[in-house]
């Protein structure tokens, strides 16, 4: 098919529209490789993103269990750790270098590989063509490349876990000068170079994916599907893709400069450094410059993580409340507002760098403004389920759980968005509690909700709901048990990133609390494994879906066959006559988007 060259944006020499993939599907028998491995079908690519994401989630989650062992039981030996990790845990105790590598990789893996690629990659790929009424993405070939760049990035990052000096260790933000100097630590050696290469490949993957999402949404909507008739999922994926396209290249710029500093002798980020008693020749660099470039992506990144979850949750809440979404245009408007604001607040991560207080207060103001669209969304979700005819499916529970976590974690954002308060709280556990609730666990809940909800469309079978309920309750209670106490630890000034806090009398009082958190972490992790088992078991043995529209939903994906082939619809692409949220209208439980408007019917839009 298409020719692809050195630059991701260039497509050439392809004389027909991408329907060629179609013809392949019809005229040629597909081999195993073209169907499951180098597939150009958006549904298969979505599952590839998902399963790669699940593997990463298990690894990233396991890392958190390991460093929680250290935090909950400092000084205690776990001989099994030495058996498995050898020199990284001599005598069964986690080495400081190992601990640092664990938290670094936990952050990198969860933020980038699971909650960006795994979440956005899975659902944008799966739902965009199905819900806007397209046979595939604007460029199925670039879409396939998007996955394979992610795969390459994964391989590089994975390999860094196994090298002698270990993976990158300097926090997922890889601040220089630590990350820029090979001699600074074990984790700043080859592991850091692999980290940079991996993330560069990852950026290419995100851009290729994002280009496709945006042009598919704008160009390939079916007849009648005006922008304001799109389900909120699509709006969320749309703004997410735009944010990614605009901000990831800036991270790439920052990483290129970092790579030059590390390997080619420049000093963009380095100045006046003494290491091991030796004065380095680097002069004139600014470490703060990297923080600006990093957080220009880093802050929108948390919205890149949370916005797909917001879209998924909006859809699921409406379907399972049998009520139209409350304030559709306000929902779209708030997504838009969040997108704009997200690029204007990055320096609130840098209040402690000694920035000009005036600048700090501007960033604090813009940060607090985000509370407005966020609150609009929360109230609209609550009013959507208010007096609804709620079906408590596992997907619905996770969607409600998402709203709960988003409120709990979001409110503390008002604390740390203030420069004055942040300077006190910045390096404490308070921050850990805040962002894990609001964008970590909440985004995971959105992802789980989406998986339980669209699993029947993905695999033609249901996941086991009983395991789903157990999964939900343990995860929800566990998440609060883990992260709620951290707020108090943070308010008491307990620092984050520390290997062992037991020598400090003032933090000793939290020793038992830390033990409890660690034990709950292990339980929650095991329950996630149960979910993974449920997922894979249900693909093959789950209860079969017998009707096209099992949730009685309005959106277009439920008009396709139970197991849609490449091209999604067997006949013509259906035409759309109304928005996606006609639930409980004119005495009908639901009216699909494809149903023509009645003679005397008044439609919302």
């Amino acid at each position: 098919m298409d020719a692809m060259h050195a630059h991701p944006g260039v497509v050439s020499a392809h004389e027909v529209f991408p329907s060629e993939a179609e013809h392949h599907a019809h005229h040629h028998k597909q081999s195993f490789i073209t169907k499951y491995i180098f597939s150009q079908d958006h549904k298969t690519i979505s599952k590839q993103f998902l399963i790669t994401g699940i593997i990463w989630a298990i690894i990233g989650g396991l890392f958190s269990v390991l460093f929680r062992l250290q935090l909950g039981f400092p000084g205690q030996a776990f001989p099994i750790l030495e058996t498995v990790f050898g020199k990284w845990a001599p005598g069964g105790e986690i080495k400081p270098e190992f601990y640092y590598a664990l938290i670094t990789m936990h952050g990198t893996i969860l933020v980038f590989f699971v909650l960006t690629a795994g979440l956005s990659g899975t659902f944008s790929n799966f739902l965009i063509p199905l819900q806007v009424g397209a046979r595939d993405m604007a460029s199925p070939f670039l879409n396939m490349l998007s996955y394979w760049f992610f795969f390459l990035a994964s391989i590089v990052m994975m390999s860094s876990l196994f090298i002698q000096t270990g993976p990158a260790a300097g926090g997922w933000t890889v601040y220089p000068p630590l990350s820029a100097l090979h001699e600074a630590s074990e984790g700043s050696k080859l592991g850091m170079d692999l980290w940079i290469v991996s993330i560069a490949l990852f950026v290419v993957s995100i851009l290729l994916g994002g280009l496709n999402y945006v042009s598919t949404i704008l160009n390939l909507r079916t007849k009648g599907m005006s922008m304001t008739r799109m389900p909120l999922t699509i709006w969320a994926f749309f703004f997410t893709a735009i944010m990614g396209i605009v901000t990831f290249p800036v991270l790439l710029s920052g990483l290129i400069l970092l790579f030059f500093d590390r390997n080619l002798g420049t000093s963009f980020y380095l100045s006046d450094i003494v290491i091991n008693g030796q004065i380095l020749p680097n002069e004139g660099g600014s470490a703060i410059l990297f923080q600006h470039l990093f957080w220009f992506l880093g802050h929108p990144e948390v919205y890149i993580v949370i916005m797909p979850a917001m879209g998924i949750v909006s859809e699921i809440l409406s379907v399972n409340s049998r009520k139209p979404i409350f304030g559709y245009m306000a929902m779209v408007g708030s997504l838009f507002a969040i997108t704009i604001l997200s690029t204007l607040v990055w320096a609130h991560h840098m209040f402690v760098t000694g920035m000009n207080p005036l600048l700090g207060s501007i960033f604090a103001l813009l940060t607090l403004l985000i509370a407005v669209p966020s609150a609009i969304k929360v109230f609209n979700w609550l009013t959507t389920i208010w007096r609804g005819n709620i079906r408590f499916t596992p997907a619905m529970l996770f969607a409600i759980g998402f709203v709960s976590l988003f409120i709990s974690g979001g409110l503390t954002g008002i604390f740390v968005g203030n420069a004055t308060l942040d300077i006190q709280l910045h390096d404490t556990m308070f921050i850990i509690a805040h962002f894990h609730l609001v964008m970590g666990v909440a985004a995971f809940f959105g992802m789980f909700a989406g998986l339980y909800h669209w699993f029947p469309k993905m695999f033609g079978r249901y996941m086991n709901p009983t395991i789903g309920y157990i999964h939900f309750w343990v995860t929800l209670i566990g998440a609060y048990l883990i992260f709620w106490p951290m707020h108090y630890q943070g308010l008491a000034g307990m620092p984050r990133r520390y290997l062992d806090k037991s020598p400090w009398v003032s933090f000793n009082q939290f020793g038992e609390l830390d033990k409890m958190i660690s034990v709950v972490t292990i339980i929650v992790f095991v329950v996630q494994l149960m979910f993974v088992f449920n997922f894979f078991y249900s693909i093959f043995k789950g209860r079969k879906v017998t009707s096209e529209n099992p949730w009685k939903a309005n959106t277009l994906e439920w008009t396709t066959p139970i197991n849609p082939g490449h091209g999604n619809w067997t006949g013509e692409i259906p035409e759309v006559h109304r928005w996606a949220y006609d639930y409980g209208k004119d005495g009908k439980d639901f009216i699909p988007q494809t149903e023509p408007v009645g003679v005397n019917e008044k439609i919302e839009r």
Binding site: H7, G9, S12, T216, N219, S267, L293
Partner: protein, 189 residues
């Protein structure tokens, strides 16, 4: 069973649209770089460089190549294939000329002005930013090469102008990007 439904087919070709979005993203990358330059240039220990004259020659080359690229597209649309091939080859060569002169410029800076990668002034930024730009021009040159070979050796005759239009837009973009970078370095540097 076309992916593009009737209603949508009047709109901009999806590949062209995709390219525009991609250009926005490339632009952001260079915006990141030049903002970093501005931030750094206001700090202590900044060293300026004198822009080698050779970059003016490469500017002329890339401006000419934009012109020939546009003529290439026009002759393709008029199905003047002989002229089209000639112009495509000319554009390709001008692209190579640009890259070569950029490299000569780098060497001049390195050997005559003794600006190496040590340090963090305008020179180091110049290597990184202009270097990245060269990589993007190289992408365009490879695109032209593929179009050229498809024309000669492809089994299917290409009648749609869309791929060439995409390549043309990209080519003008890297040209405009170069003008921006040149003005930026002359102005701020």
């Amino acid at each position: 069973m076309d992916i593009v439904s009737d209603q949508q087919s009047k709109k901009i070709h999806p590949y062209k649209f995709t390219l525009w979005v991609a250009l926005a993203s490339i632009l952001m990358m260079f915006a990141g770089m030049t903002s970093a330059y501005i931030v750094k240039s206001n700090q202590a220990g900044w060293h300026d460089v004198v822009m080698p004259k050779i970059f003016w020659i490469s500017t002329v080359a890339i401006l000419c190549s934009s012109l020939t690229m546009q003529m290439t597209l026009r002759s393709f649309k008029q199905r003047a294939m002989q002229q089209y091939r000639l112009l495509l080859a000319t554009t390709f060569i001008l692209g190579i000329v640009f890259i070569v002169f950029q490299c000569i410029g780098f060497l001049h800076l390195w050997n005559q002005q003794h600006v190496t990668l040590k340090g963090s002034g305008a020179g180091q930024f110049l290597y990184v930013i202009f270097g990245l730009h060269v990589v993007h021009v190289l992408g365009g040159v490879i695109a032209l090469m593929i179009i050229f070979f498809k024309e000669f050796f492809g089994r299917v005759k290409v009648f749609s102008a869309a791929p060439l239009e995409v390549a043309t837009t990209y080519w003008h973009f890297v040209d405009a990007l170069w003008i921006y970078l040149l003005i930026f370095f002359l102005w701020v540097g």
